[in-house]
Symmetry: C2
Subunit: 461 residues, 2 copies
Amino acid sequence: MSAGWFRRRFLPGGPLPAPRPPRPRASPVPYRRPRFLRGSGSGSGPADAPRRPDARPVRSPARGRALPWNAGYAEIINAEKSEFNEDQAACGQLCIRRCEFGAEEDQEWLALCSEELLTGHYWALFDGHGGPAAAILAANTLHSCLRRQLEAVVEGVVATRPPMHLSGHCVCTSDPQFVEEKGIRAEDLVIGALESAFQECDEVIGRELEASGQVGGCTALVAVSLQGKLYVANAGDSRAILVRKDEIRPLSSEFTPETERQRIQQLAFVYPELLAGEFTRLEFPRRLKGDDLGQKVLFRDHHMRGWSYKCVEKSDLKYPLIHGQGRQARLLGTLAVSRGLGDHQLRVLDTNIQLKPFLLSVPQVTVLDVDQLELQEEDVVVMATDGLWDVLSNEQVAQLVRSFLPGNREDPHRFSELAQMLIHSTQGKDDGPTGEGQVSYDDISVFVIPLHSQGQRSDGH
Amino acid sequence: MSAGWFRRRFLPGGPLPAPRPPRPRASPVPYRRPRFLRGSGSGSGPADAPRRPDARPVRSPARGRALPWNAGYAEIINAEKSEFNEDQAACGQLCIRRCEFGAEEDQEWLALCSEELLTGHYWALFDGHGGPAAAILAANTLHSCLRRQLEAVVEGVVATRPPMHLSGHCVCTSDPQFVEEKGIRAEDLVIGALESAFQECDEVIGRELEASGQVGGCTALVAVSLQGKLYVANAGDSRAILVRKDEIRPLSSEFTPETERQRIQQLAFVYPELLAGEFTRLEFPRRLKGDDLGQKVLFRDHHMRGWSYKCVEKSDLKYPLIHGQGRQARLLGTLAVSRGLGDHQLRVLDTNIQLKPFLLSVPQVTVLDVDQLELQEEDVVVMATDGLWDVLSNEQVAQLVRSFLPGNREDPHRFSELAQMLIHSTQGKDDGPTGEGQVSYDDISVFVIPLHSQGQRSDGH
């Protein structure tokens, strides 16, 4: 991942420097970089164009390369809408070594677990906006941030129960309030590491984009298989679902101006200066205009889930903080998502109003206890960017999965074929199983992760 | 509900004045006060004491009076732990008339629906702390606040779809952003009215307690049956569940310092002055002490669902904003709930630190579409204060419901008997169906609401 390679591979002619770790750590353990695959949609020439005459050309999705590790048949495929793909992806093995402490008093305790080593698998989708730069940086950076964050707490992650003190320090006292500890689990540390990794990666992207004079942001959806559990961390509007024979289980939820309305309005309530007098915090069923002045109209504020009526004042006529519905909903008239990485420089057009305070980089993390599932060979997790879910419902995707896999048991590439087929189903083919000929004009990336191989712990202990 | 009656009934010798509506409205429609029943636990003498020698005397629960309306057999029963019952309850019919507008231009439109009248049913449980005063005020006030809030929007509630303008005003324009409206439903207005009613009631309680020199607060759990739907609004740690033959569905969730940790920490992050330098916002597995200084210990902050490690600084040794776990968890070392009514004067002992900014009066509202259920005669909603749920799980309550009702089909008081039996099951009787002899020493109030009679719309249109 040299700077030259980085530029050549993703940004022809672009001056973007290679990402630097934000907090270099002196470590005597040699850094073994996981081999990472990025699906950058290197499709070759137009083909497979949708039937509808108004459809833009769609390149043939290139099948992702075989994975360099034994994770099964996970695949990524990109459908491209523009010359530079704003969707980016990464997957690979996460190799977590123990963290080295400097303090001498820690050495004895560390010796007890000095050979601890944890391996996991990592899949990530990034859907860029305002250009591909942030998505590319995220695809190149987030796994390193996650590895660093996990290494900082790995002694806790591999313990039966994470110790109160990372260094094994024990405080003995007779006062119960200083003794009784809450039951923190190893998975709580992994969740914390994912949360911190997203924030660290966001800081890296902010610095790198500023240094290179570039802009943009991206959503991030990450799945990590570790110690028999699958962690799904999401910031944005991509989605992961578990599909089994008799079950469809959402593993993420979308973060958009609509789903995060109360958090966003609350922030504007606490810091009204963020709106610079240009926007109204209140939500109305449509934009108000002069004729509405003095009328009693439907509205809601940050503390309300329900609606009520209020008398329209002049300040209510301002442009709304969140405007539009569904796919058209925009934060400050600008952004369709409310969580993601990057966008540090993003401002409302012709103003100095920043998006970032409203846009969070913190992901929501869901944990799937794979070891507790009675896994069937065709249980899969489908991860995809919003382009897929705009056109196919969870149920339609599950139907496609269930109709495809059983008939292709002998095909070693069947999970790849399934990922391809899911994308094909969004390109207006009337003969698809749903028969509705839906069309998506967005970049689409899909991972199909077979869980069967994840169920058996593949980590080193 | 005269002042004299109010005092006599609930506060022997107490100087509490009758609650006044916060915003008197001139209305030509005569106010028809619903007849309300308050279950104040007027138990008569000790009996039915638990077997355990250390148990405090428990009075025989008094069966609630027959309801004055056709809501079925809903019942309230109080188990008492102290001379003045901190649990209070109310139920009755809600009669919603149209709101009168003063403006002449509204009269024509109003004439179209001048006879609109909506009736519903109302059940409420209030669990007081710091004395019964707030719970009594809430039992006497909240239904009036809700009636007022519903009357203010009743034209929207009875419309097929709530109009953008309450007065029927129409704005015609060619710009789509000023035309297309979000699909607000009648139930959104009821949710909004419940949210507003809780806040209005909270303000009334604040004023009344201050005027009478009294203190205290209470949780509030309200169920409203209206237009074929059951609305459950909850602020505190009471709980409502739906029990059917094959289904247990939670209709509320509890608001405690633990369940609302992130909101509470977030508030302290935004307004650190609220902690007056006396508390630490961060959460640790146990309280820290001097020996922990400089160690790396588990912690989490407002933006984290997972845990991580941090190096302990001096400020981390302060008393935690949220301390303890489960039933022992306390907000600012003081309060076991994070939502409720009252407590405007409540401060941390020996400080000027107020609880109220952290304590919210906004309820969470759940909607059960009763008309969509294929109701069986024995489908019930069980509402109870925390004392019941401390001892019985949802599954145990459902088991008691399902084992009791089918064998008592001929008993006209069977829902009352069931409510009694549920409370008896918490009094350490080893021969109870759960056979575990659990004991609760808290006040307990239970409503058992048969849904069968709610399914048929009993409102006036």
